[in-house]
Symmetry: C2
Subunit: 131 residues, 2 copies
DNA sequence: AATAAAGGTTCCAGCAACTGGAAGGTCAAG
DNA sequence: CTTGACCTTCCAGTTGCTGGAACCTTTATT
């Protein structure tokens, strides 16, 4: 299978696949005589796994760890567990941050009644202490 | 006032101030004879404004627009209004995304009962269709 | 006065995770 | 036989900084 087929099946741009290879996230595949990369069905699964992790905004570094954990089947899964828990923490914190942001911004958005910048409540609030 | 004083008063690293100057977000200040940047009280206010906007995760591009709007006092504040509304939208979308992420991750986090990778529910779910 | 520490300056590199584009080789179809 | 799609490599750019080297100036201490 050539790179674009893999790309299509895993729903990951070909460019990104080459990038993943470059940074060592996936191993370099065999090459055809013309130099084209040749992939196996196995690679589709691995790449889909990676895409799912990326959908969950797990960093490439952490994905590397997850992949490594999988290649050693008898290893304890503390690492896997920790990564997911960490991610959950990160996402929770980020969501809380965004909630605060949302409040600030919606307060700002409702504060512009005039139509001249000099009288604009938004800019006034952004300049005042409490914004 | 020298750059580190400005940095302290506005709570923005000196390095970042130079960067803002470089990309044209703030204008180049006067220089002392020794080449040091000399800032005025005015600059403190502008920089605090910028920091507040960054706290709200408004992009430097948009902050540029907000600053430009302010320098033309008689301009209508549609632009300001639009930027804030856009930001609000962006933040709302991002928060919703994070809520979904949080659900997925917390489902994953609770799915590991065994202590071998080969039996790890987390990895199984990440490999299965629905993850 | 000599020297050390603190604070300036410039420029270059790197982070994450790609993405775009140039320049060129290969392959199937009309 | 040429057009167009697909492959290759390599280089550059994105966002918003941040770290560090190499160097100069000012201030404090011995």
């Amino acid at each position: 299978m050539k790179i674009n087929q893999l790309a299509q099946q895993a729903d990951v741009p070909a460019k990104t696949i080459r990038y993943y290879e470059e940074i060592g996230l996936i191993k370099a595949p065999q090459r055809a005589e013309n130099g084209y990369r040749i992939y196996r069905t196995d690679d589709v699964h691995r790449l889909i796994f990676i895409r799912r992790c990326r959908d969950l905004q797990i960093s490439l570094e952490d994905i590397k760890t997850l992949l490594a954990a999988q290649s050693d089947n008898s290893a304890p899964c503390d690492k896997v567990d920790n990564i997911i828990k960490q991610q959950l923490k990160r996402v929770q914190v980020a969501r809380e941050e965004l909630c605060k942001l949302e409040q600030s911004l919606s307060a700002l958005a409702s504060s512009c009644q005039r139509n001249k910048v000099s009288e604009c409540g938004i800019l006034h609030k952004l300049h005042s202490e409490e914004a």
